[in-house]
């Protein structure tokens, strides 16, 4: 293959390879939002790692990652073609976000040559599964307010503190960790990023139960976790240079070429199939095919889904062409949060009392009540919609920045709770 393969040749090759090697999604496939027992979860993770390895061996893993790190070194168009062909096939959902992006993309952008050669091929083979050690119990949307501390100890660092909202830490391998290395400088200037193996003696993982009974999210308590300086990403105290790009990758996950997004999947890459089909099924299941209000709702829901994908496409083109700043990704992030909540609301209202008191075997309508209760999750996780609105107004539109009382003040002097003390970041 010394000549560059055309996108269409690549597509044809991908299509044939997928048909031969990868299982199709079964009719009883359940999205990630469905609560399952731990053993099922682990089996699915293992199966996804297996498919990732298949992709790697077949020459389709990491389409936009450079070849020297195990990727295919191809342009974005190839990733888009692959996404289209991938529709309907099983794929490693859990290995996309935050594993491929932002974790692997941050390593790709800021890692040393050795770090990249060590980790990226393993990630692309499904051998290493990365998660973000980013949010903390006391800091909410203010991720740069991290209090997990890293103190120097010879050639190593000792990490102490807690991280929260880590997806599936219990079945993952590595954490990309934002830590505070300097308390005597302003907030953004005392941070450093580290790579941390998750399963080790100094890390206690506690799973968080959500209102629907799922417990995929975790909180980690780190006690004297020793990290060699060679596992530091970026400069000491320069972690916010990494962090700003990290958050940008997080906000733009839905259009990232580093993660798979099978066509017809939702923003989180979860397979949905054809939105039109799902909506019409919902209309029929609710017994409201002839109800004009329900029919209007279906039209509205379809329009929202198309609006979201067309907006993603436009933002991506604006950013690529240089006509818009990278920060436009926040517009897409806002849309995914808002539209997700609207779609959950529409489905809930269509189901009516069946979403509240549903027969045990009603899988179409019976789950919609719980999904509605969780409807804000997509406006909270991955940076809240409030932060997105700040970014849009300040960095896209150039409106004045919010007053931050933690600027130009040593971080140890910043007030983080009404009492003036810590708000429970450590225990």
């Amino acid at each position: 293959m010394s000549e560059i393969e055309s996108v269409e040749d690549f597509r044809a090759r991908a299509r044939a390879w997928l048909a031969e090697n990868v299982p199709r999604i079964g009719p009883d496939h359940r999205g990630r939002s469905f609560v399952r027992p731990d053993d099922e979860e682990l089996a699915e993770v293992a199966e996804e790692r297996r498919i990732q390895r298949l992709l790697f061996d077949g020459g389709f893993a990491g389409i936009c990652f450079p070849k020297e790190y195990g990727g295919q070194g191809l342009a974005r168009e190839y990733a888009e073609a692959f996404d289209q062909e991938l529709a309907g096939y099983s794929f490693p959902e859990r290995l996309q976000v935050p594993n491929m992006t932002p974790c692997a993309t941050v390593i790709l952008e800021f890692g040393t040559e050795e770090q990249k050669r060590t980790h990226l091929p393993k990630i692309l083979r499904g051998e290493e599964l990365w998660m973000q050690f980013l949010s903390e119990p006391g800091s909410g949307s203010d991720v740069a307010g991290a209090k997990l501390s890293a103190t120097r100890d010879g050639d190593d660092w000792l990490l102490n503190g807690s991280k929260i909202w880590t997806t599936g830490a219990w079945w993952s391998d590595w954490g990309l960790c934002l830590a505070r290395t300097n308390w005597d400088v302003p907030k953004h200037r005392g941070l450093t990023v580290f790579m941390v193996p998750i399963h080790q003696a100094g890390i206690e993982i506690s799973r968080i139960e959500m209102l629907d009974g799922s417990n995929e999210f975790c909180q980690e308590y780190l006690t004297d976790v020793r990290v060699p300086d060679s596992d530091r990403i970026g400069g000491i105290d320069d972690g916010w240079t990494v962090g700003t790009r990290w958050l940008l990758h997080e906000r733009s996950f839905s259009s990232s070429p580093y993660a798979l997004h099978p066509t017809g999947s939702n923003a989180y890459g979860s397979a949905q199939g054809d939105p039109a089909g799902n909506l019409l099924t919902l209309l029929e299941s609710a017994g409201r095919v002839d109800d004009p209000a329900a029919r209007e709702d279906i039209g509205r829901a379809y329009a929202l889904q198309i609006a979201t994908s067309e907006l993603d496409r436009r933002l991506h083109a604006l950013i690529l062409s240089g006509k818009g700043s990278d920060q436009l990704a926040a517009v897409g992030r806002l849309m995914h949060g808002v539209a997700g909540a609207q779609l959950a609301t529409i489905a809930f209202e269509l189901a009516g009392q069946s979403a509240i008191a549903g027969d045990v075997d009603d899988d179409v309508l019976g789950d919609l009540g719980m999904r509605y209760l969780l409807r804000q999750a997509g406006s909270i996780g991955g940076g809240t919609t409030e932060i997105a609105r700040n970014v849009i107004s300040e960095r896209v539109l150039g409106m004045p920045r919010e007053l931050a009382l933690d600027r130009n003040v040593p971080y140890r002097e910043v007030r983080t709770a009404p009492s003036g003390g810590s708000s429970g970041a450590r225990r």
Binding site: A357, V360, G369, Q376, T384, R407
Partner: protein
Amino acid sequence: MKVGLSADQELLVGTTRKYLQDSVPSDVLRGLRNRPEGYESEYWTTGAELGWAALLVAEEHGGGSVSGEGLRDLALVAYEFGRQASPGPLLGTNIVAGALSRADGVAFESELEQLVSGTAVGAWAYAEPVPHGGLGEVAASAVESDGQWVLSGDKVAVEHAAQATYLLVTARTGDGLTQLLVPTDTPGVTITAQRTIDVSRRYARVALRDVRLPATALVGVAGAAAADVELQLQAALVIQTAEMVGAMDRAFELTLGWLADRYSFGRPLASYQALKHRVADQKLWLETSHALADAAAVAVQNGDPQAGELVSVAKSYLAEYGPELLQDCVQLHGGIGVTYEHDLHLYLRRVVIGSALLGTAREHRLRITTLLEARKGARKVEA
């Protein structure tokens, strides 16, 4: 909730609040998700001793209320249930007891005694499944045959039917409606638990297959129960909206406290204007919800001719803004707001359930228009 309460009402509210706080604090409440019944029977009988199930029953039939306005007192109790997301068959038992008392408290003396004392639970079997799931649609049938009633049909979303001793079933007889009191152990009655989103409240599907009942099962007049059913619906909506307001109130308080306690970028969240303005909108929705729920309770209590419109105004408003308020509280809490260990979801569930049962916002808006047309028509006739 109400602006002015009598001393007796304050006592009822205070006693109920304290009892709910002591007997089912939120940790106990969270554990109830694993109990099929959703509540302890002693909890309910003790609550009945406080008068919870007597409020719509006439004094001569063993009931009574502190203020002489039983439905308004019941709304106060329901508000406390909302504030604490409390368990128990409050709505169903009261609607059934109220209906029996109104119809013939003497004939139903024994049943009323059990319901008022909390030794029996009543369930109001009103809603039906798709394709007859619309508000007020009744397809179940009651046919008189050889001095007996034969009842067939399906009811869904029946609150605590599986815990009930008596079902009050609304059915169709020819062009009219008939109501029958059905002991749950009657042959032909099958009660199947449904899944729901509440931690403690339970709903069930009730299948009625040629259920044969004696003539004495009739509540009110055969084929002419529509007006009674309307009164039951109005009372049920008063209970439901009062409970929703209570849950909204508590969630709003939690959120105000959270915003004051939580710091971001060196400032309390409560100092961010974008959040302040959203909280101001929440306050507007909350005060309006209070105003409408109270007005509906007064109108139904007084038998105001426009009470039907007013309960639907209240329900349509609360069903729209109640869930929005709660979801915005969730958003302002961030991730912690959707964890099982936090209390917020307890109120979210209660408000969301209220928004969808006994008619959605949309169904009540349509009902308002139909009621207005009827009223204008009536006026034209008068004029």
